[in-house]
Symmetry: C2
């Protein structure tokens, strides 16, 4: 039994990609006693050595298959397209019993790639709704997932005990688990995470064009909006490539709503303009209420 | 001489509109000894009485002209269109010497309205870049302006000693003063404040359309983006009406940049997509650097 109250304990936990998310998974697993051993898997010995020094892993390897072959549970925490490549390599370990999960920001492309895994490598897709614009194991924190929403995206083909294991693991990390289909997940995060990120890049371009005075006159709201633009570009390249359809839908809808707002501000009465903002206030408090009282 | 180090002291300071901004001006002026007396001017005796109980004003009146006639310095902190209406009433006090300033989020329309004031009522437009989505004197804080940028928008017609007085007042509130033309101010805040606010309303509409799961799956970036939507709708109605041209320009540019991003995500190579996000990172760190080392 682990040190935490959940009673969760796995033998060897492998973490591929020991950055912000993977490093935080390792720190939490070690601090809470959720695994007998945590093995980091990555490309750079220097980075993996740093991860060990920071307490994110017990040991490490730069060989994915060698590392995975020792794991009872394998957590893929690399960028989305790398997760897909790793899922394509894992069938070489045919016959090795383990549970595979991931923390990728896009789910359908990953869940589809995981369908090629042999049955004994039981995959459950996941996405912890936690993180920051900081990257790397230096930014990892043992409590990153505490209080966060953790989405799991099982399908008809998911193994029930594996789903139960991953659910209990996410709960043992301190998260609240929500299940939904990969398609629903991708459609929603396109609106709530991917669209805002792309919009941040657009805000910055408009602001830059406004001239040098912008550096002096930035409201706090502008900093809040553009903060996410500091995230690694490679992560966002992968997200855009892997979730193209839902992102394009969200962008098109967003531009349509903005065009309506533009027309309203150009030609509407003050009352109509006020009503547009009032609707936004209601939507905002409705969404905020969802936070207070999760279903 | 006042209690603070600035040596700033005015006789009677009148504050029209004792909400978040006006209340914070009053609290700071009283705490720092910047005025012998602070008179609140508003419509609701109940609200003004609360402002007095909270330490924002020494006394109050519901009569703008009566209150203004007692002031050496009058601070208009009502919504933008109300400031314009108040500036139209003040010429009835012809012969009363005072300095008039304001904290409105739009400057050109206000500065134009102030041109009708008699010469002895010396107007200097201002905009403290501070605030929050919370409204009302309950949210006011003595230190709201501490460390904030405070824009002043003098014109050729501004009285130099009045500009100096308002500048020293803003500095005594703890702010860093930046001067620019009303037109430049309005163009920049359209990009950095008004556009993000309208975009927040658009994000909320797109998210709402994504279905009920949105309540579960919101990244922190989404909350950062939409937080501002809680602001009073009447303030934003006024801002849109008073800064229509620059806001429409910013919205059009924003939609154009978004259309380019949409095309890139639909048809670009992964390298091109990465490059788009990388440019955003550079713009973001360039703007953030401006914060660290203001010119």
């Amino acid at each position: 039994m682990g040190d935490d109250d959940s009673g969760f304990l796995v033998g060897t936990l492998g973490i591929a990609g020991v950055g912000l998310i993977g490093g935080s998974v390792g720190m939490a697993a070690r601090a809470r006693g959720l695994a007998r051993q945590v093995v980091g898997i990555g490309r750079s010995e220097e980075r993996l050595s740093l991860a060990r020094d920071l307490g994110a892993v017990d040991e490490f390897t730069t060989d994915l298959l060698e590392g995975a072959s020792r794991c009872d549970m394998l957590y893929l925490a690399t960028p989305v397209m790398t997760i897909i490549e790793q899922l394509r390599q894992l069938p070489l370990l045919r016959g090795h019993n383990c549970v595979v999960t991931d923390g990728g920001s896009v789910k359908e492309a990953i869940v589809r790639a995981a369908e090629a895994l042999p049955a004994e490598m039981r995959f459950v897709g996941g996405h912890p709704m936690a993180g920051s614009e900081d990257a790397g194991v230096e930014a990892a924190r043992e409590d990153l997932f505490q209080g966060a929403t953790y989405v799991l995206t099982p399908t008809d083909q998911s193994n029930a005990p594996a789903l139960d294991l991953v659910r209990r693991f996410a709960e043992a990390l301190g998260s609240r688990v929500v299940e939904m289909s990969p398609e629903t997940h991708d459609r929603i995060v396109a609106c709530t995470s991917h669209l805002p990120h792309i919009a941040a890049g657009a805000f910055l371009r408009v602001a830059e064009a406004a001239g040098p005075g912008v550096r002096d006159v930035r409201a706090g709201s502008f900093r809040d909006l553009t903060r996410v633009a500091a995230s690694p570009s490679t992560l966002w390249r992968d997200i855009c490539c892997a979730n193209r359809g839902p992102i394009l839908d969200a962008l098109r809808q967003f531009r349509e709503v903005l065009a309506c707002a533009e027309e309203l501000i150009a030609e509407g009465t003050p009352e109509e303009i006020e009503s547009w903002f009032e609707t936004g206030r209601h939507l905002n408090s409705g969404l905020a209420a969802g936070k207070e009282a999760p279903e």
